[in-house]
Amino acid sequence: MPSVQDIRRRIKSVKSIQQITKAMKMVAAARLRRAQERANASRPYTEKIQEILASVASGSSDAKHPLLEVRQVNRTGFVILGADKGLAGAYTANLLREIVPRIQEKEDVELITAGRKVNDYFRRRNYKVAQQFSGFSERPTFQNAKELADLVANAYASGQYDEMYLAYTKFHSPIHHEPTVIRLLPLEQAAKEKSKASGEYIFEPSAEEVLNLLLPKYLETVIFGALVQAAASELGARMAAMGSATDNAQELISKLVLNYNKVRQANITREITEIVGGAEALK
């Protein structure tokens, strides 16, 4: 049976842990709101660029571009967007559970990882990590997306990889997100059947030129969208995890308090019996 002091000390430490988890929950909630706003703000751009790409692609169906080239697959590249920090429940674990089997079914794989947690995971297991990024998983900027996109485009165009995938966590709602793997390159010729809408466009200077400019931008947009969603998912996961941690701490505290009172009561009772016993003996 632990002593009164022991229990009191436990209660105190659980309480301070609870304060931390509560603060983290609130911080995550505030950031989540901002991240969601950003995700929503980027949507019109993404939709528009897809629309334009579809019309350009159908306007120049025989266009050649290094990013459209389909090759025999020798080496595959995976871009993995994960978290920098832990304490986000099963966020990282879920993402890894989704991608590790995908990686294992390929022969020759190299990874590009963003986020310290995933960097460490793959480093420790001796996967080939070609490049790693960290420091922006919670607040990605368009610049980060640009950097990644440039890297991906160059690596693909130079023939370093013959196929590239992007793994991230798709954001549905603060409590619902799912790890997703999409094929980034070669780009699928987006919706060729929509040709009727685009036939009328004038391309300045030519459809090919526009396509050349558009494809890298499109890649950036896709990656940026994924980054923003991954950030929102991470924050959502953290908020949920910290919320339940706070609840658990509360539960633990009430159990400990009950226990503490019991022990205290037992001590008092024992002392009284001792005094009474002593007084009886003196008679």
């Binding site: 980027s42 528009k48 334009i52 466009y201 300045e204 030129e209 400019l213 931008k217 947009t221 940026f224």
Partner: protein, 135 residues
Amino acid sequence: MANKIRLDIVTPERIVFSDDVNMVIARATDGDLGILPGHAPLIAGLQVWPLRIFQEESETEISLCGGFIEVRPDKISILASCAELAEDINAERAENAKLRAETRLNEKDDSVDIKRAEAALQRALVRLKVANFKK
């Protein structure tokens, strides 16, 4: 001047501008384009250059760093990786960026990414141009 066309400027971060305008002049990859209401559908790439917007009697400029313009008879959409109104530009920061880019270019060091420095310089110049336009 009742004849107007809708102009939307969208960046990945937000919608920068959305209003009816009389005319837009943009610098495309192969030269300036003036767009009036009822223009034929067109898609063009844009240079890093201020976009001139004519609205009623006034003219405003918006700095753009690359992007696309899509024109339909009743609507212009511009997609840019960044776009700023004159009042959103931090002239001091742009000035600093300009100086930094210039020193980089002058160093002629192999480690300097010339393309990147040039792009940064161009962006800074455009921002300064737009910021000074109002004065």
